[in-house]
Amino acid sequence: MIEIQNLSKRFGKLQVLHDVSLKLNKGECVALIGPNGCGKTTLIKSILGMVVPDSGTILFNQKPINKDVTYRNQIGYMPQIGRYPENMSIGQVIHMIKNIRKSETAEDNELMHTYQIESLSSKKMRTLSGGTTQKVSATIAFMFNPDVLILDEPTAGLDPIAAELLKEKIIKEKEKGKLIIITSHLLSELDDLVTHLIFMQEGQVRFHKDTQKIKSETGQTTLSKAITHILKSGYHE
């Protein structure tokens, strides 16, 4: 569904992405992990067209993304830090995005109800707490029933209940056969979600594997233990 070929990007002297090639398919739930500053967010932003790569191509359903922007109709994106026009209210932001996407499929307002966004709808974006902003981001990401969900640190800043609700929603969407890409530092949280794991370091993909395989190869039962095991043994592929 998404194919990344030899993607490179540098910001000034810093090589953020170094020859990254990946293939992500429908029905997968991919966790993108790695230390801070390893290029996860840059990779995600490249897929969304927010960052323009120096070289390499990204194909979405076999079509290069820099020609046609309509592929973004099929992507729901939840940013790490949602930045919204400060003097707009929640209702106006949601209304504006609905207006822009003009989606034909029915809107999925489940998260809007579970997070009770409607009752906050007249609140200005600048007055919101970090957690509420994240809830708004999540609502917007899931609203248009996209085939691909890109969630950058989705649970950071959410309270435990909200995080749990979001996780349930992610599992539900995953069962519908969507491609879900999550970056997170909380490995324990990803355990019952992800099917594939991508580990990035210094702008390169160290490994991209099936989680079952990782667990059986390392002989560990949980993902976090398996990862620590790999890192300790200096396992690279």
Partner: protein, 255 residues
């Protein structure tokens, strides 16, 4: 396209600055015309106001507006909209808002008090000066991420075009007085939109005698029908080129 322009326009209207700009211009224009019996004198005063305040407000307001819209732009870029569409819509939205303010403030009283042909030329010049400085604002805002630097650059460009350029031209005129540079002067004034606008208007007001020998050359060039058309075209180029450069930069910008 229209939807984004609509959002931008609504946002600018909610922001009281453009409204106060229109009121300020209106107060100036009405008072100038009601104080002077001679509309030519009033026009000259208005011309000076226009050539200073209109570029200043257009460039500063637009630069700050673009920086403040960074969240809005970021939000839209992740949605299925072309980048150029976002940028062009922002430009059109700002242009429409500021042109409307100019028209309400200065344009309308001019059409009522001044001779019709002068009123029309004055209005078109005002619109062009407005969109030129918005385009320059877009360019300086896209070139730097730092808000203070971007606004500083805009202020410097405003100073350069409204004041420094004139001084430089005068300096050159004196230094090279022994050479036949009059033809060249016409070309050099093309390098500053404010100067083209000023000369164009002065010639319309028929006070080009003040400009001396050079004035005669200007009159021969700008005064004729073709000259007016050429100068308007050059003003249009001044609005388009900075904007197109900024558009190209924006399409490649990382957000």
């Amino acid at each position: 396209m229209n939807r984004i322009i609509k959002f931008v326009m609504l946002d600018i209207i909610k922001n009281k600055i453009v409204l106060s700009y229109a009121i300020l211009l209106a107060v100036l224009a009405w008072s100038v015309f009601s104080l002077e019996d001679n509309s030519a004198k009033g026009l000259l005063t208005l011309l000076n106001i226009m050539l200073l305040t209109v570029p200043l407000v257009s460039i500063i307001f637009s630069t700050i507006y673009i920086y403040n819209s960074s969240e809005f732009i970021e939000l839209l870029v992740s949605q299925p909209i072309k980048r150029s569409k976002i940028w062009i819509s922002l430009y059109i939205g700002l242009c429409l808002a500021l042109i409307t303010a100019f028209f309400i403030g200065i344009g309308l009283p001019l059409l009522l008090y001044a001779p019709l042909h002068i009123g029309i030329v004055f209005n078109i010049t005002g619109f062009l000066v407005t969109i030129i400085f918005i385009a320059i604002a877009f360019l300086s805002a896209v070139l730097t991420r730092d808000k203070a630097k971007g606004i500083g650059m805009s202020i410097m460009l405003w100073l350069f075009f409204t004041m420094l350029f004139d001084g430089l031209v005068l300096f050159m005129l004196f230094q090279l007085a022994d050479y036949p540079i009059e033809q060249a002067m016409v070309l050099i004034t093309m390098l500053s939109p404010v100067d083209i606008a000023r000369i164009l208007m002065l010639l319309q007001l028929d006070i080009s005698a003040l400009l001396g020998y050079t004035g005669a050359i200007f009159k021969a060039f700008y005064g004729s029908g073709n000259g007016i058309i050429v100068s308007f075209l050059i003003l249009l180029v001044w609005a388009l080129v900075p904007f197109l450069i900024s558009l190209k930069k924006f399409n490649k910008k990382d957000l």
